[in-house]
């Protein structure tokens, strides 16, 4: 058992952790980051499905009861394994009522008040709009299908350096070419340059209060090959703790800490949202792609390009209409999902049961190159609840890496089911028009619903009854503990959430700096972007002063 001291202890190195680590280190605080996953560099990011390659080292798949969560598990967190789509959430999202019957976001947060923070992130990462030449065959096909059925379609804003991208479609296991602007290329190296320490393979177990009003954080050290094995344990004391372990793990750490910290706010481990996500697999008729949409590749093929690309490049936003009722708004985005865990959930369109395994399923696997995956992000009802925490981590680990069984329970309400059904029906209408394809949603029967964007298990809000965090991200009744990851987002966003998680983390920092100062830490707020740019800082200067309470 080892013990140590720092000023600011951050749990997790994804968007929430890395952004806070950079600003606090740059401001002069002693910052230590504990990250449960390994520290991989670009040379470690394999093009390989082999167990033990970066595909299994860098992310976790946790099966719950009715919901499974796919998340990052490495230094850089979700940013290393995500597909780098970075849209801002539409205006109506901040006005959503969700399951509580009144506005769920804090009154002070709207799209207008968050836009300057989005701008900071956009400059820091950086995020850029793609043009039609960046759009992959699969994105182009989706755009053409949308157009053919009278809809619009947009190239999505992304955090990709297109000049470096080889369209290898391996980005879920990390980007070997450094084309994906993960946190390993911006906030984290800047945090390290300012003296922050990152300890990989440190999985936080629980938090307890020290006699001087600070906190002691207990961790286990994880074996770097077999994550089921703990090699040692220890603790570290800090004056401020920032939890950013992800929406599937942050509430579990707090649940396990309740015995030592005292009662948690009601919102801890409740109101989980899967961002209303659905995946549909279309199996294209190549002849119709050519005849109906007029598409063909340089090599003469019409499509057959499922393997080629870089994640989502085109989305249809026609249903992101604030005038539509809640639970009927959603985006429809083209996405690549690699073989492995995902492929088994694809169903034979219109087939006889069972549709997820068996001889008909094998026949559609043979047509894999003609698959197009459409990703639906709808408005769910925040109905996920975490049960009793497992002894360590956020799941009982099954495999050496990647696969675990968690305590999340998700029983979709009629609102959520209705939103899913509407989105499924629309994408079917688009993809099956004039015989373009046959399409079916992934089955929920095997591992429950499936999200790659877990949210809201420890959310901000104005109301103590339905939120775990004050609007400044401080845990209710536990001063000095902040949460800055996806768990703080109040509900489903109808678009990819990384940009909003990052903007909220940026917005939380001035208040955290102020709390650190009040606890005697010599730290200042006001760092530029990680590369030294300052326009984003200028945009939030006045906002930051008010958030810090000055």
């Amino acid at each position: 058992m080892t013990s140590d001291k720092t000023e600011v202890l951050i749990v997790g190195s994804g968007f929430g952790g890395a952004i806070a680590a950079y600003h606090l280190a740059a401001g002069g605080a002693k910052v230590t980051v504990l990250e449960r996953g390994p520290w991989l560099e670009s040379k470690d990011f394999d093009h390989d499905f082999l167990l033990g390659s970066s595909y299994t080292r860098a992310f976790d798949f946790v099966v719950g009861d009715g919901m499974s969560v796919l998340g990052g598990n490495c230094v850089g967190g979700g940013s290393v394994v995500y597909f780098a789509a970075m849209p801002r959430a539409p205006r109506f999202v901040f006005e959503r009522h969700g399951s509580i019957g009144r506005r769920m976001w804090p009154a002070e947060i709207t799209r207008d008040t968050l836009d300057p923070w989005y701008d900071r992130v956009s400059e820091s990462i950086p995020v850029s709009q793609q043009d039609w030449n960046d759009v992959t065959y699969s994105g182009g096909l989706w755009a053409a299908a949308c157009h053919h059925s009278g809809r619009t379609a947009n190239p999505t804003p992304v955090a990709i350096d297109n000049a470096k991208c080889t369209n290898c479609n391996w980005m879920m296991g990390g980007c070997q070419f450094d084309a994906k602007r993960s946190l390993l290329t911006n906030y984290l190296p800047a945090a390290l340059a300012h003296g922050a320490t990152i300890r990989p393979l440190h999985e936080v177990q629980k938090i307890e209060r020290t006699d001087d009003g600070g906190y002691r954080v207990h961790y286990n050290v994880i074996d770097d090959v077999d994550y089921r094995v703990h090699t040692e344990s220890g603790s570290i004391e800090a004056k401020i703790v920032i939890l950013a372990a992800g929406a599937g793990a942050t509430p579990v750490i707090l649940q396990r800490s309740e015995e030592s910290l005292g009662k948690m706010p009601h919102g801890v481990g409740r109101y989980f949202s899967g961002n209303g996500e659905r995946l549909n697999t279309a199996i294209l008729n190549e002849d119709k792609v050519r005849e109906v949409l007029g598409l063909s590749r340089e090599d003469g093929l019409a499509y057959e390009a499922n393997q080629i690309g870089k994640g989502p490049t085109v989305a249809c936003w026609d249903r992101l209409d604030e005038n539509l009722p809640e639970y009927s708004r959603y985006s429809m985005e083209q996405l690549y999902f690699p073989p492995g865990l995902g492929t088994i959930l694809a169903q034979v369109p219109g087939g006889d049961a069972p549709t997820w395994f068996g001889k008909e399923k094998k026949e559609i696997l043979k047509r894999w190159r003609s698959w197009l995956t459409i990703f639906l992000m709808t408005e769910d009802d925040n109905e996920g609840v975490f049960g009793s925490p497992p002894p360590t981590g956020n799941a009982f680990r099954v495999s050496q890496q990647m696969l675990g069984r968690g305590a999340l329970k998700y029983d979709p309400t009629p609102n959520t089911l209705s939103g899913w059904a509407k989105a499924d029906a629309e994408v079917k209408e688009i993809m099956e028009k004039d015989g373009l394809a046959k399409i079916a949603p992934w089955t929920n029967d095997v591992v429950g619903a499936y999200t790659v964007h877990p949210l809201a298990s420890c959310r901000i809000g104005d109301d103590a009854g339905t939120s775990a965090l004050h609007p400044n991200h401080e845990l209710r009744d536990h001063p000095g503990i902040f949460v800055t990851d996806g768990s703080a987002v109040p509900g489903a966003l109808t678009v990819n959430p990384a940009m909003t998680i990052a903007a909220l983390a940026e917005r939380a920092v001035p208040g955290i700096v102020k709390a650190a100062q009040n606890r005697g830490i010599d730290v200042k707020y006001g760092a530029p972007s990680p590369d030294g740019a300052t326009s984003g800082r200028r945009g939030v200067t006045k906002l930051a002063l008010s958030l810090a309470g000055d």
Partner: protein
Amino acid sequence: MTLEAYADTIVPGEKRHPDDHAIAGVSEGPGSVEAGAIELLETEATGVTAGLDFLVPMLNAHAKAYAEEHELALDPSLPEFVALSYEDRVQLIVKLTKNGHPEKDGWVSLALFCNMAFDSAPHLSTAQAIADGHPGLLAMGITKPDADGLWRFPNYSYGRQLAELHPDTTPSGSPA
């Protein structure tokens, strides 16, 4: 042989020889077994290997009960699950993997890895597996990498505007 029959129900293949009982032979071309399902299940990293010794007798016990329930006569020289027809194997797996079945997690894990043996071959290095003619990866049409083992696609785009932009797109390229 029982595990082979399970894997062959998830991704079926053709019989390896006329007396092949494990493979039901309902599909042309290799299936999960030939793709390496048993090798994958016996790879410790999966976390299911230690459980196989328990799952095999459980599966045969379920098959025996299924046969009794449906008044099927099974070939006594074969493990009970192997003795079932493909259609009956399917029905039994549907039952075992259904929501609410107390052993669902185990049977789903087994199905996941049997499927993965075919569609991603995680017991093998992918580039090498393709070079060696892995039947699942080849059936899916996954292309060969460049000489350095990495994939690159210099041609990737239709290269033209294919839809009108949403009218409420902001200068940042996001929805309004």
